[in-house]
């Protein structure tokens, strides 16, 4: 925690091109230490692509991505994780044959030295117990993750993220496909995590946004359209046009 209260993630002049299509077209984005930032925008705005670039899944055509002063572009995915960036995916991927605890233990483990890796897990480490507590899946700790419901899988993913002890969390549509109750619980989870983590959330769901967001960046056609607090963004006519012009559903 030696960084000043300045930027944790700094993206400058980012461009991503897929077969001639500009998915991201000159994005600048700064996320400060401790911030909770929502990234919204209509389909194809480049939200997930942006996360993909930060986490090393997609190579940008131009621009820089700096995390706590370190350039990320060109690094491999697991190296970026080791620097302290964790992410979830739209479709959650947990390891179905492993138990909930084993999933978390795996996520907590990449810093372990080799001898520890070769030993059997005995009991539950502090990090794992904490993550298990936060996501509230303690009752299912020793069940294989394959039996979890969709919502529980998303929480397990978030738990795995916490267990990684990252400095920056990137959540890609955490409430997609969730029921009302599940959304609520995810929102509480998010609030709790955001209290002591820097979090970027990609989300479609406007209701969720209104309830839990403070700072919002709106992407549209690969560019940053508006940035600001949630009320200002919602009131912005450009945002309304972008959403209304596309689909009434999204704004609701």
């Amino acid at each position: 925690m030696s960084e000043n209260e300045g930027a944790l993630l700094e993206i400058r002049g980012l461009e991503v091109v897929f077969d001639g299509f500009r998915a991201i077209d000159g994005v600048d984005l700064t996320v400060g230490q401790g911030e909770l930032r929502f990234l919204i925008g209509p389909n194809g705005a480049g939200k997930t692509t942006l996360i993909d670039v930060v986490t090393g899944l997609t190579r940008p055509a131009a621009g820089t991505v700096r995390f706590a002063g370190t350039e990320l572009t060109g690094r491999r995915e697991h190296r970026i994780v080791r620097l302290g960036i964790g992410r979830t995916f739209q479709t959650s991927v947990v390891f179905e044959e492993l138990t909930v605890v084993e999933n978390l233990d795996l996520a907590a483990g990449f810093r372990r030295p080799l001898p520890a890796l070769l030993r059997q897990r005995r009991g539950v480490s502090g990090t794992v117990a904490e993550a298990l507590d936060v996501i509230g899946l303690g009752d299912l700790a020793d069940r294989p993750a394959g039996v979890l419901s969709h919502g529980q899988r998303q929480w397990l993913e978030i738990g795995m993220l916490i267990a990684q002890r990252p400095r920056l969390l990137l959540l890609d549509e955490p409430v997609a496909g969730m029921s009302g109750g599940e959304r609520e619980r995810t929102g509480e989870l998010l609030t709790r995590i955001a209290a002591d983590h820097t979090v970027v959330v990609v989300e479609h769901d406007m209701e969720f946004l209104r309830r839990y967001a403070s700072q919002v960046t709106v992407l549209h056609e690969g560019k940053v359209l508006v940035e600001g607090d949630v009320a200002a963004v919602q009131a912005d006519p450009r945002v309304q046009e972008v959403y209304l012009g596309r689909s009434r559903e999204d704004v609701r």
């Binding site: 986490t55 491999r76 995915e77 697991h78 994780v81 080791r82 964790g86 992410r87 995916f89 991927v93 390891f95 179905e96 044959e97 492993l98 084993e102 233990d105 795996l106 996520a107 483990g109 990449f110 810093r111 372990r112 520890a116 890796l117 070769l118 030993r119 059997q120 897990r121 009752d139 299912l140 069940r143 039996v147 979890l148 419901s149 919502g151 529980q152 795995m160 990684q164 029921s179 599940e182």
Partner: protein, 372 residues
Amino acid sequence: MTAPGTALRSPALRARLRGYALFAAVALLLLVVAPLALPAFRLDELAKYLCFAIAALGIGLAWGQGGMLTLGQGVFFGLGGYAMAMYFKLHDADGDLPDFMVWSGVEKLPALWKPFESPVVAIAAVVAVPVAVAAVLGALVFRQRVRGAYFAILTQALAAAFVILLVGRQGLTGGTNGLTNFYDVFGRDPEAESTQRTMYFVTAAVLGVLYLAARQLVKSRFGRLLVAVRDGEDRVRFLGYNPATVKTVTFAISAGMAGLAGALFVPVVGIISPSLLGVVPSLELVVAVAVGGRYALAGAVLGAVVMNYAKTEFSEQWAGGWLYLQGALFILVMTLAPKGAVGLYEQVKDAVARRRTPERPVPAQSVQGEAA
């Protein structure tokens, strides 16, 4: 029956005890019953099956646990076998050229053979060479995320190329005949019954030790990581691990096991030749693992022993029949019981347990209920 103690109520502990009991029973069977009950030549045959079982154990690790379908284990088996056989040949030749080199008109001992005059180097090479080859190949292909069927095809191509190389280099490798006619195996006569008996015990012991080691590996955090890599390699990257490293290490371990198996095979059977390690023998090993049950190490061992026993029995009766049977068995297993004999056993066990306690709720449902 007997009232179980409190400790025995824990299903995990009970499973573990059952595992130990099973292992002890198998060890008893292999180390005491079989040597007493079987005639010498049958014991020697069993020793051969146990060699294949060691190689199968490696396949169980790489394929069953790690999802790497390796169709080139014969190569590693061969590397270990040739390393061992080269030492025996040099030892027999006692400073002269090995017999087959004389027949092929080789005049000077090739440089490649020189180090194998030392038994220490040869035994080290038995494991080190296969491990090194697998590590280099693994590092190259896994780093580039070549996987699944591509990996299988590449390992198969390696097996094909290796055999062609061995056959073509008559003077260096003994060609099609391979290396055979050993007269002295560490100071003993390889044909003597006592030597064969000793080799049997050595092979069984190596299998036992490697089985326990592999089991420990599977249960360790590394083993859990390996399963995770098998089921979601890309996701594992985002947990901060490099799947390429995990796979390369595992592939190298399985290659080392195959090498050891090959080295034991040489004194047990008295020959190592290309026909034992090409595309077909490599595939046969995998088939044995699949039939036994790829997801359980015990299944791999069981499959190797049973399938090779069946092969010997059938081939004695009706050679063609074995191919039909093997093919048909394989088609059946893949279609009806992809988890092999062990999987089938577990299915039956579960079905029986469910029938006994029909009122017990299905676990998955209860979990879903909680979520709603």
